[in-house]
């Protein structure tokens, strides 16, 4: 101990604090989680009304007329008043945009762009537009989301909401459909919807459910789209440009990649000879580069990918090699290259050095295979690597159960959940409810057994649904 008396006292106080640090008991953890879930389910409505009020008082609703079309059928768009809402003010006209006023009719094929959250009434459906969404009104009962997200409420009339990757048809349901640069997503909050993917596959989604479709799925069915992307990385393209020194600069594509510049640089000393291999990378430098790549992969996936590729090119040690493959796979996934991402995750999963990345790699690969319409392959991946315990065991087990159920095997889905009775997590409670409902028509006893842990251990939001199902089945 130091001689400073204050420091000595502090050291003693720290020891006392350490001695008092109790581990969080399972009961206390469960109680805390239940409180968090309950708190989460309450304030959203209030927060949404606050944002709507703020929107009406400050911003105008921007309507941009996209494709011109004869106004054969007008779409009646009404902005409903909230009980104490101020009068909607007209906005200014700019660049083909106009503000909506209440009750204004809007021609077909009109694109709505919302700067702030807004609500639009459509025939028998209500749309809640998130800030930044671009939405095309096609017919009184069909909308197309170009980017961003929209929550759809539909009464007893059908509505169709689509993106480029998915079409959702629903009656008496509440769902959210969104499109980002890398995927489309459908989240069902109430009721049942019909999802049709761009490749024609159809499935029914029942609440609660979230389904994500990577954008590359479209590229597999529309070959014209990926042609531009793959041509940029085709091996023959850079080779002719390497001969003269100045030509790569002159003929370089509009956005030469770092990889192209690196290939061009070392050619000068040996024009006819092979490219010299880069020196092996030191473990510390590899870790530093990978840490940087991980930090930026969300906002700049191409750059993160280039960094990971650079590390891989320089013969890193096994641990860093696996880390680089994971970053590479994440970057591919974020760029919408589902197939490449799945292949790279597979490389990680099969590597003896996978270590702590094994579980995540398996889960990611299975999710991507499912997104590519390959559920059988996804099942095979999950079953080939049965890690009993692990941080992502609930998600893996729930995904396996969902896959079996989607293929029409609720009994196999139930078996997957029964094989992991110790798992207690939101993903598991959701899966148990879904599979029990699917199993009930053919094996109600097993369905009841599947729900017993939900009633006994799950937070009330899940346990109450399980009890409702059991009550409904009590008469059988």
């Amino acid at each position: 101990m130091s001689q400073d008396p204050v420091r000595q006292e502090l050291e003693l106080a720290k020891q006392a604090i350490e001695a008092r640090t109790k581990p969080l008991s399972a009961d206390r953890q469960a109680r805390l989680w239940a409180q968090i879930e309950a708190a989460q389910s309450q304030p959203q409505g209030a927060a949404w009304w606050q944002s709507i009020r703020a929107f009406w008082s400050s911003r105008s609703f921007e309507l941009s007329v996209g494709l011109a079309a004869a106004a054969a059928i007008a779409l009646y768009v009404a902005i409903p008043k909230t009980p104490a809402a101020p009068t909607l003010t007209r906005g200014a006209l700019f660049g083909g945009s106009a503000a909506l006023s209440e009750g204004q009719t809007v021609p077909l094929k009109t694109t709505l762009k919302a700067r702030a959250p807004a609500r639009v009434q459509l025939a028998q459906a209500e749309l809640r537009l998130e800030a930044g969404v671009q939405l095309e009104l096609r017919t009184p009962r069909a909308v197309r989301v170009l980017s961003g997200g929209v929550l759809v409420w539909t009464d007893n009339q059908p509505i169709s909401a689509q993106t480029q990757e998915a079409t959702v048809e629903a009656v008496s349901a509440r769902f959210r459909i969104a499109r980002t640069p890398t995927f489309s997503e459908v989240t069902v909050h109430e009721g049942t919807v019909q999802l049709r993917r761009a490749n024609g596959a159809m499935e029914q989604l029942k609440a609660p459910n979230r389904t994500r479709i990577p954008i590359e799925q479209i590229s597999q069915t529309e070959p014209s789209k990926p042609a531009k992307k793959t041509a940029a990385v085709a091996p023959p393209a850079p080779v002719p440009a390497l001969e003269p020194v100045s030509k790569p600069l002159a003929r370089a594509p509009a956005r030469p990649s770092k990889r192209t510049r690196k290939l061009a640089a070392p050619k000068a000393p040996a024009p006819g000879g092979p490219r010299t291999a880069p020196p092996p990378i030191a473990p510390k430098e590899a870790r530093r580069k990978l840490a940087q790549a991980r930090r930026i992969v969300r906002r700049d996936a191409p750059r993160a990918r280039a960094m990971a590729e650079d590390v891989l090119d320089r013969s890193p040690p096994p641990a860093e090699r696996i880390g680089a493959l994971m970053v590479l796979a994440d970057a591919h996934r974020r760029e919408g290259r589902a197939s490449k991402a799945a292949t790279t995750y597979e490389r990680v999963a099969k590597s003896p050095s996978a270590g702590r990345f094994l579980e995540e790699a398996i889960l990611r690969q299975a999710e991507l295979l499912l997104g590519m319409g390959q559920p059988t392959e996804a099942i095979a991946v999950l079953r080939a690597n049965p890690i009993k315990s692990g941080l992502l065991a609930p998600e893996r087990t729930a995904l396996l159960a969902d896959l079996h159920a989607a293929q029409g095997h609720p009994d196999k889905a139930a078996a997957a959940l029964e094989a992991a009775p110790q798992l207690r997590a939101q993903a598991i409670w959701r899966a148990r409810l879904k599979i029990a409902e699917a199993l009930a028509p053919t094996n109600i006893a097993r369905a009841r057994t599947l729900l017993a842990p939900v009633v006994a251990h799950a937070p009330n939001i899940w346990a109450s649904r399980a009890r409702a199902l059991l009550d409904a089945w009590a008469e059988r």
Partner: protein, 190 residues
């Protein structure tokens, strides 16, 4: 083990970072941080309430989390902000000091099989926290994060989104105030 898990989470991308995953991995950490920032007089209910607020704040901030820092650092920042906001109410703060001063002891040590807590430790705990509670909360949390949680100055700067100079300045002032406020001991330390 915990450090390895946290490090791994820091490498994960957003898709796997849900609130539930974060809760499973970091509930223990959050409760520990909150209880240490509040002080030894905080009850389990206080800690749970604030931990709940921390996870709700985490849930709101999760879409904006870009992985620029490790997840643990990010969670430290959110926990600290929630606790500071809680302590800003003067009445609440006063009540906490009163409760601390009224407490004759802070309960038994968590692990009865560990070496018995010495009287000197208990006494030091009371003296140090009694002085710390009178230091401004912004300085106190930096002090606690540095001296008790063991974070480095750059980590604290990242967590609290302040400059490293600000961290060092607050730490220096907290130490000076602590030294000034600690009453002279009647008996010497071993």
């Amino acid at each position: 083990m915990q450090a390895q898990v946290s490090q791994r989470v820091g490498r994960q991308t957003s898709g796997a970072l849900t609130l539930e995953v974060l809760f499973r991995r970091h509930a223990q950490d959050v409760c520990r941080i909150v209880s240490r920032l509040l002080g030894p007089a905080a009850s389990e209910a206080d800690v749970d309430d604030l931990a709940q607020q921390v996870f709700i704040a985490i849930h709101k901030a999760l879409p904006k989390f870009r992985g620029e820092s490790e997840v643990t650092t990010w969670i430290y920042g959110i926990s600290t902000r929630v606790v500071l906001q809680h302590l800003r109410g003067r009445r609440r703060y006063r009540a906490m000091i009163d409760r601390f001063e009224a407490a004759s002891s802070f309960g038994p040590a968590a692990n009865p099989t560990s070496p018995e807590e010495t009287a000197a430790q208990r006494q030091a705990l009371r003296r140090v926290w009694g002085a710390l509670l009178r230091i401004k909360p912004e300085r106190r949390v930096v002090f606690v994060l540095y001296e008790i949680e063991g974070l480095s100055a750059p980590e604290i700067a990242q967590a609290l989104q302040i400059s490293e100079d600000a961290v060092r300045s607050r730490l220096k002032r907290a130490r000076r105030e602590l030294a000034d406020r600690l009453p002279p001991r009647k008996e010497g330390l071993r």
